[in-house]
Symmetry: C2
Subunit: 289 residues, 2 copies
């Protein structure tokens, strides 16, 4: 079932990303101009800084330009919407992302829905949400869902007809992953903090995708032989160590294959964002340069 990108039973996100890079960079070279991603950040959160750093360094690697617009924590919703609109109007920008979370007091929906859906690299505007909920081929899907789709496909894991149990129901991760799997013809179960018998739901699945953000939520009792486990969670345990939702060391010996944290979904999410950006680069905009 798994191909060469899996070392033993590890589904390696970095190796998969690297294997998909040549195709993406080749595609970028065929464009008239390198695409530009606008990254709008409010404030100076450590986690946001580190995500943005990863995006910038990946952009540089594949020949994509980025414009990082960092605004003071005190910015108003109206001012932020204005910045988004300026990026909409700027012909040299093909994709826009607003780094989340935004400070409390900012109306997130107004800011996100100000993004021109044709430049919505994160797939979070209402128009794109409806499109990916419908499973339209031209929908821009949130980067994590896209990254997981590519990770599974590249590693020879087919979703068609499979039973997938997803843990988590957020708008950024759980719900788009659920819709992606459903649109790929999987039978999809969504669990969350109010679910009873989580272990029943995970054990009866062919594929488990955990996006709860709870360190080591999924242990030996939640899994069985033959399963595929994709870990989307990322948190720090009491000792400050970076962990996923899955108790990797014990689960890896039970299941058929598992993606680690770090080095699993994370690198694929960054790839997914830039795949979105390249897809948004429409030839029709070429003529206005």
């Amino acid at each position: 079932m798994l191909n060469i990108m899996s070392n033993a039973n590890i589904i390696d996100g970095r190796k998969t990303r690297d294997a998909l890079l040549p195709e993406l960079t080749e595609k970028i070279k065929t464009l008239l101009k390198p695409p530009t991603l606008a990254i709008i950040q409010v404030g100076n959160r450590d986690d946001s800084n580190s995500f943005i750093k990863a995006k910038k360094s990946f952009a540089a690697k594949i020949g994509v330009l980025e414009r990082h617009i960092q605004l003071l924590e005190s910015v108003s919703t109206a001012e932020l919407v204005k910045v988004v609109q300026e990026c909409n109007a700027e012909q040299n920008i093909q994709g826009i992302i607003v780094q989340l979370p935004l400070p409390i007091g900012i109306d997130r929906d107004s800011v996100i829905d100000a993004i021109d859906p044709r430049k919505d690299a994160d797939g979070l505007t209402a128009k794109n949400v409806k499109a990916w909920l419908e499973g339209r081929g031209d929908a821009t899907m949130p980067a994590t869902a896209r990254g997981i789709k590519e990770l599974l496909a590249f590693n020879g894991i087919d979703l068609f007809g499979k039973k997938v149990t997803i843990i988590g129901r957020s708008m950024l991760v759980g719900k788009p992953i659920a819709m992606m799997c459903l649109n790929e013809n999987a039978t999809v179960t969504v669990c969350h903090s109010k679910s009873e018998n989580l272990a029943n739901e995970t054990k009866s699945a062919d594929i488990i995708i955990s996006a709860a953000g709870k360190s080591r939520l999924i242990g030996k009792d939640h899994v069985k032989a033959g399963q595929i486990v994709i870990d989307v969670g990322i948190s720090r345990d009491v000792e400050g160590k970076l962990t996923g939702d899955v108790d990797f060391d014990v689960v890896k010996d039970v299941v058929a294959a598992i993606s680690p944290v770090p080095g699993g979904v994370g690198p694929m999410t960054v790839l997914g964002l830039f795949q979105n950006l390249v897809d948004l680069y429409k030839p029709t905009t070429v003529f206005s340069w």
Copy 2:
């Protein structure tokens, strides 16, 4: 678990609707003017005619006005959008629905998304889709999902923590029902035509909601004692008899409670539409009359 509106183990949609009517009609009486629903129909399909007839008769019963706009099958997308925009602009219209399906050749998305989200009584515009996907309290939910929510709540069936298996993944029915159940804190499994082991998925549920539109898809082997079965399907069997997705006569003797077809979800869907309409009636529009 079930209250007086269930006769034996039948979850009666007509009785539930009738029991909820006084509250709705009282609410309508407190409005400065009766609300008006615009029903836009293209062509003259028998099924559409019969659905519209049911809506009109219900409107008359509860003191709601309707404006039925019937256009020729040959209408263009642009002309249809213009009609929608006229309804948006008309202050005496509080809700708009476009009767589906539309003829092939009409761009459905353009027509639906032309509806002012504040008048979107069917909850199908992109803005509303995103809102109900997020589980926002102010979202207008498609009428069938709302009707089922009310049917379950009134009959004392709580979704919290329950395992719900939904059959069907359409944008009008399956997906909104799934999101409604998820937002009510159920553990939700979505099955469809590509699902393997449908019976496994239905048998492991506390509540089965079938929206496949396949006559008698769910039989005795799909259910077990103690379950709640909600039948959303409506089709005709080979003898022309109106049936649901569930083989009612055999399933009703196994499960704890079941909603029939007709007389189950159908009447609740009509109620849900008019509950949506009344919710859309905003006091702020009062002053422009």
